[in-house]
């Protein structure tokens, strides 16, 4: 492997590790805290709003810098998302994701981080989550073929 490829892999690894630590400190790895944020009709805990604000507050700076650049630091190009208009799959998918989040108190990142800590419920969640992703993937492949 070239040294630039190594640099990219190490950068990704470090970014992932910081993400996981951030999730832990933020309280995202505690379903009860996530559910308390979504429990607007009960003992509401707004902490997760500050998690998002803190994350966006930092990330908007990076986005502004990135937009001025022709390429990232270690890769040949930016992979900006292509789609711009709001469509049914976006809304339906987000709606379903929200239901699952409200049921389990886990979204993908925290579920993976918690699963890695050896938590059996989180491991089961991750297995099911990959199952759900597989169903969607097979569905798109079937649609393409027909």
């Amino acid at each position: 492997m070239s040294s630039s490829k190594n640099a990219r892999l190490v950068t990704a690894l470090i970014a992932g590790a910081i993400f996981g630590v951030g999730l832990g400190i933020a309280g995202m790895t505690r379903p009860s805290k996530v559910l308390a944020f979504l429990d607007v009709g009960g003992a509401w805990d707004p902490s997760l709003a500050l998690v998002m604000l803190g994350a966006i507050g930092v990330h908007v700076v990076a986005v502004a810098v990135a937009r001025r650049r022709s390429s990232p630091l270690l890769a040949p190009k930016f992979s900006w998302p292509a789609r711009t208009h709001i469509d049914m799959p976006l809304l339906a998918g987000a709606a379903l994701f929200g239901v699952g989040w409200g049921l389990g108190g886990f979204c993908p990142g925290p579920a993976l981080t918690t699963a890695a800590s050896g938590n059996l419920a989180a491991i089961a969640f991750v297995v099911a989550m990959v199952g759900g992703m597989t169903i969607r993937h097979l569905q798109t492949r079937t649609t393409k073929r027909s």
């Binding site: 992932g16 951030g22 902490s47 990076a62 987000a94 709606a95 994701f97 993908p108």
Partner: protein
């Protein structure tokens, strides 16, 4: 407001933002965990950058393992959910994030930071259905979990 932890929320959030910033400025990619997982498990049609996504995932998992020993209180023990419940939740999250093209990190953090109207619509939607779900479970059906 109960159990409000503004300090750790902001610090944790800032770290998440930092991670996404490194991933964007360094590698030009969006730190959307659902997309990263899908790529790492070859459940998408985008082989580009798969190695980097696997590396990100490994870092995320390594952090989880490290936190188990360094700061175990960030996790909760004693699963209050039954297995069918957990599986249903996981299936919905897995299917929904792929159908919708993102999750809390991809749409909520990265998308909103880019002022993406798609991500705004997605974030508002999953926040709404998440809140409705918790409301129904806790205050209508009164399932204790």
């Amino acid at each position: 407001m109960e159990n409000f932890t503004p300090g750790s929320a902001l610090v944790g959030g800032a770290l998440i933002g930092l991670s996404a910033s490194i991933y964007l400025l360094g590698l030009g990619r969006i730190a959307g965990i659902s997309g990263i997982l899908a790529s790492a498990t070859k459940l998408d049609d985008a082989p580009d950058g798969r190695g980097e996504k696997v590396a990100f995932l490994v870092g995320l998992l390594a952090a989880g393992l490290a936190l188990r020993f360094a700061a175990p209180s960030v996790f909760e023990s004693g699963a209050a959910m039954t297995l069918p419940w957990v599986v249903a939740a996981g299936l919905l999250v897995g299917y929904g994030t792929r159908l919708g093209g993102g999750c809390t990190s991809g749409h909520g953090v990265c998308g909103l930071s880019r002022l993406s109207t798609r991500s705004l619509a997605a974030t508002m939607t999953f926040m709404a259905t998440g809140a409705i779900t918790v409301f129904v479970v806790r205050h209508v059906l009164e399932v204790t979990r």
